[in-house]
Symmetry: C2
Subunit: 471 residues, 2 copies
Amino acid sequence: MTESVGIIGAGLVGCLAALAFAKRGYRVTLFDYRADPRDEATTDRNLRSINLAISSRGISSLEFVDDEVAKRALRDIIPMKGRMIHDSSGRQESQIYGLFGEAINSIDRGLLNNNLLDELDKYDGTNDINLMFDHKLVKIDFGEKQQECLFATTNYGMKTYDFDFVVGCDGAYSATRYQMQKQVRLNYAQEYIDCCYIELYIPPSPEYNSEFNGPFAIAPDHLHIWPRDEFMLIALPNADGSFTSTFFGSWALVESLVPSKNKVEEFLLANFPDAMELMGIENAVRSFMDHPKGALMCVECNPYHASGGRAIILGDAAHSMVPFYGQGMNCGFEDVKVLMKLLDKNKNRTEVFEQYSKQRHEDLVAIVTLAKNNYKEMSHDVTSKMFLMRKKLDGVLGKVLKGKWLPLYTMVSFRDDIAYHKAIEISRKQTAILKLLQAIIIVAISASGYKAFGYFSRLFKRLSALQKHST
Amino acid sequence: MTESVGIIGAGLVGCLAALAFAKRGYRVTLFDYRADPRDEATTDRNLRSINLAISSRGISSLEFVDDEVAKRALRDIIPMKGRMIHDSSGRQESQIYGLFGEAINSIDRGLLNNNLLDELDKYDGTNDINLMFDHKLVKIDFGEKQQECLFATTNYGMKTYDFDFVVGCDGAYSATRYQMQKQVRLNYAQEYIDCCYIELYIPPSPEYNSEFNGPFAIAPDHLHIWPRDEFMLIALPNADGSFTSTFFGSWALVESLVPSKNKVEEFLLANFPDAMELMGIENAVRSFMDHPKGALMCVECNPYHASGGRAIILGDAAHSMVPFYGQGMNCGFEDVKVLMKLLDKNKNRTEVFEQYSKQRHEDLVAIVTLAKNNYKEMSHDVTSKMFLMRKKLDGVLGKVLKGKWLPLYTMVSFRDDIAYHKAIEISRKQTAILKLLQAIIIVAISASGYKAFGYFSRLFKRLSALQKHST
C-alpha cells in the first residue's frame, strides 16, 4: 500500500522533499500557509530577501532527486568565482574561492522556489503531488498509524488531514517542530546574533543590454563585499543585470541611524561611497529606512524525528543558520539527499528516521557553527594581513598538494563528498600547520634580515604566481 | 496611580511574587491554569513530586518579603544536616553538609504551596490579592501601556484582562515566555538529560508516634542516598514520619525494566535491599511500574524581560534546572528578592527589568550548570575515595581557615550573601589548590614509604577528628 506523507512548508526544501518522496511512490500533499507565490495577486515581495548562493551540495542534491529538474530549475544561476572586496576608497580586490576555477552560484530565492513549484505541478508519476496553499498548520495529533493534522485555512475554516507521516520543512519558526515537542523530548536552542539585515538594491547599469547580458555595473562573476569590521554590505548578481544587496550591522547601530534621514545618508556615503553611486543615494537611504529589519537566528535541535517514524524535520526547521557561509539552502537540500539515501537502503521508516537523526547531527552542528564564525571572516578578517597571508599559503598548498590539502571553503562549498563535520576536522589540523608555517616564515624573516626576506619573498611570489595563473 | 500586575502561575514563586508586589502597593491578580490545590475535590496528587530542600537563599528571600509569613509557611520543615549514603549491603555512612552544623530543610512542595496560598487569602493590604484558578493563559497582546491577557477558563469560556505588566512564574513550559518570544529576540535553550524519575514512598515505621515525632524508620535529619553510579534512589523526610523517595535512572534502563514485574522486583531487591524492606517490595514494584515517569529538562534563556517593562519571567520559566543541587525553588525565591531590591531602589520599571536581566544572567547560568554537574556527584562521586579525600580536606580547610575557605556546597546552600557565579569562581580556585594538596600528599606517601604515610595518616586523622567533633 502506498504511504501518504504530509509535507509542511512549500519553500525550497519542502518542494525538493515533495518531489523526492513522490518519485519513491509516496502519496504527497504539500502545504504552505502563504498564498501561491506565483499568483499575480500575491507577488508583493517581502523586501527581506538575501540572494542565495547555490554550490556543490545543493546542486548535487537537486541532481540526485531529479537530473532534469535540476537542469531546468537552475537555468538562471550566475556563477561567482570569488569575493570582490571593496575598500572605503572604492578600490576593489578579487579573492578567488576555488583552487581550480570552481564557483558558487547566485540565484534569487523567489525565482528558484517558483521554478520548483512549476516542476511539482508538471510532475507526472503514479500519484500527482497535491499542492495546498493558504493552509496554516495548527496542531498535529500523533497516533500509532495516522498523524492527524489540523490546518487553519484562509477560505475553508479549519480542516483536518490524516497522513502516515509528516515532514516539516517550515523554517526556523517551524510549527511542525513545535508540535513534535509534545511527543518527543526534544533538545532545542535558538540564539539571535546581534545583527540586523536590510535589503538594498543595485539597478542594472544604464548601458545594460539583456541581449548581450551585460555590461554589469560591477563584476557579475563575484560576490561583492564591503567589509567594515562592525558592519558590512554585500551584493549578489541577478540575471536581469541588477544586484540584490544586503546591509548587515548591529541592532544598536541600525536603531541609532534609522530615525534620522541625515544620519543614514551621512553613514552610507562615508562608508560605501562607490556602492552609493551604483544604488543612487536617495534610493539607498529610503530603502535603509523603510525596508523591514531582519533578525538572524540560529536554531539547533536533536533529535530531528518523532518516534515510530511519525514525523521528521528538514532544512531551517531543524537547523536555521546565519547566512554567512551561503550553506543554509545547500544544507537543507542535502538533508533531503541524506534521508532519501537511507530510505532507498531500508524501507523501515522508524529505523531510517532514527538513523537520520544519529548520522546527521554532527554535520548540522558543524555547519551552524561554521556559519556563525564566518561573519567575522567576511566583515573583518578578509582585510587582515595575517589572515590573507595564511589564506594565500592555504591556497598554494591546496594547489601543490592537489587533493591532499583542501582549504575549508573548498571542502564546504565544492566537495559534497566530504561531510561538514569531517571538513571541520581536516581544517583544524591544516590550520595548525598553517599557523606554524606562518610563524616559521615570520621568524625566519626577522632572524635573517633582508637576505632571507628576499628569498622567502621571491619564493612566495613564485608560489602565488603559480596560484594566480591557474584560476 | 497604583499599577496593576498579572502574575501567571500560582506555584511557589508566583505566590511569593504576588505577596512581594502587593506589599509594594501594586494591584495583584494571580492566575493558575489548575484548580485550587486546596479544594478537597482537586487533591489527587500527581505522584510525580520530589521533596524540596529549602536552604539559606530560599529562607532569606521569604523573610525578605515577609518575616511573619516566612515563619508560618515554614513551620513544617525538617532539617537535614547531611547526606546518608546507603551502600549495596545496607551499610550507612553520614556525610555532613555544613561545617558548623548548618542544615538544608525538607518540605513537601504541595504543603508549602498551600501555606503560601493561605497567606495570600489572608493578605490585608491596600488592595487584596486576586486569586484566579482554572485560568489558562492563551495569548498576550503587548501594548505601549496595557498588556491584554487572554485566558481559556474552565467555567467562563475565553476571558480577557488588562494589566500594566505581566510576571510569568509558570514553570519550565511557560506560556508567558512563549508569548514574550513574539515581542523580544529571546535566546532560549532547552535540554533534556537522559534521566527519568519515579516517585516512591517509605511509610512511617510501625512504631512511629506523632506525639513524640518518632521514631523514624531511618534518620530524619539526613537526605538519604543510595548511589549506584548509573542510577540512584533518594529519600527525604516528611513531618508525618514518612519519606518521599525518588528513583533516578536512564530512560533506557527504566524502559527495559518497567514492562516486566519480575525484572523490576529483581532489580530493586538486588540494588536497594534495605530500602525495599522499608517500602515493602510489593508497594515499591507497583509504584515503580505505575507511577508517571518524569523527565528532567534544563531551560536557559536571555533576556528575562520584554522591553518597556511590559513583562518579566521568574523561577522555572526562566531557568528550569535538574533537582540535584536542591536549588530550583531557592533560586526562584531569590529571583523575587533580587527583583524587589532593584524595584525598591528605582521606580522606573523599564530600567529595573533591564537591570534584572543583566545582573541576574550569570548567576542563573551558574546554578543551572552546577545542578547538572551534581548528578554525577550524587550518583557516583560520593563513593569515590579520591573525591572523599578531597571533600575531607575541603572541610578541614573550611574549619581551620574559618570564612576564608568556603566549600562550594556551603556557599551555594548556606551563604545567600555570595552570588551563585561568585561561588563558582571561588570554588574553582579552591579546587585547584585541593587537587595540588592531594597530589602532594599522595606523592609524599609513596615517596617516603610507611614513615611518611604514618605521619600524614595521623595528621589527617587528627584533622578529621577535629572536623567530626564540631558537627
